[in-house]
Symmetry: C2
Subunit: 174 residues, 2 copies
């Protein structure tokens, strides 16, 4: 499947509502536990998504369009949310993410990015040259894979409780 703006907005626009329905009102045992050291809980993921809206996708899009490969992206801090989210209830984080995402989509639409623009390149600090098309596709994939991660982490909380059924759940060992 090729990148298309229409199909990409379909995902980017719905993610806040999906996360709201998935996580609002859950017991802390579902949202605060992770998969082990240096892994994210569902709560951590929402902070991570907020940090992405604030510092990653928009900034990198701008940098490609304005500087091309002459100015590398800022490195992304994958652990910034551990400090930034501290003390905030999940509902506040979900609201913050929803607001930021709506603003960023409005901003992205306002750019009227052309097919030609999508081929423009930027410089990733680790991956090297990347195109705007690849960046925007990654934004979409990043939403989906983090929903997959959240539900996997939640599922693992009952890992001991399902007994012999563990055999049928390859994902529990991932």
């Amino acid at each position: 499947m090729k990148f298309e703006f229409a199909k990409s907005y379909e995902i980017l626009e719905r993610t806040p509502a999906v996360l709201n329905h998935l996580l609002t009102g859950l017991h802390d045992d579902w949202i605060m536990k992770n998969e082990g050291p240096e892994t994210f809980s569902p709560y951590d993921v929402i902070g991570h998504l907020i940090h992405g809206e604030k510092t990653d996708w928009r900034d990198r899009t701008t940098r490609i369009l304005e500087f091309g490969v002459s100015k590398s992206f800022e490195p992304f801090d994958r652990f910034a949310q551990f400090e930034a989210s501290k003390g905030k209830p999940l509902s506040q984080l979900l609201d913050e993410f929803e607001k930021l995402r709506a603003e960023n989509i409005q901003w992205l639409r306002s750019l009227n990015i052309s097919e030609h623009d999508l081929d423009k390149k930027g410089l990733h600090p680790v991956l090297g040259e990347v195109t705007l098309r690849q960046l925007l596709s990654t934004w979409v994939i990043h939403d989906l894979t983090h929903i997959a991660q959240i539900t996997r982490v939640m599922a693992k909380q009952y890992k001991e409780e399902i007994g012999p059924w563990i055999e049928f759940f390859r994902i529990m060992s991932f």
Copy 2:
């Protein structure tokens, strides 16, 4: 985390709304593609969940409570939905799942299953002896892992489009 009814209902009750928000109105390219032979598309997963509501969880719960290990569960047909869903739009399947799930939760609550009942055993045709606690935990996990599967399958549709970022998405090779 130990099995608890309250925490389990939190998941079982929200799954239909999560799936509705995740899938309603998406382009077919997001919902009809799978991960290769004998794998499920998001569309297939909803049919699979419907088949589970109709033939699996409720029937097996009843069998444990009424027959214990003296009468094995019926085998579950993992591919029944390929026939059963044929020609139905996704929105119809989502509505059907929502209705069946609501009925099954109401039914499950009405049983007033005790802690003692949770230790009762049944006979799985492949796994052998399993407890009611394990069956009900698996029902919950099954929802979560299928949401993880759906979002993973969707993410993979942009696999070719993210270029070098593939390196950061372990899940895309799963």
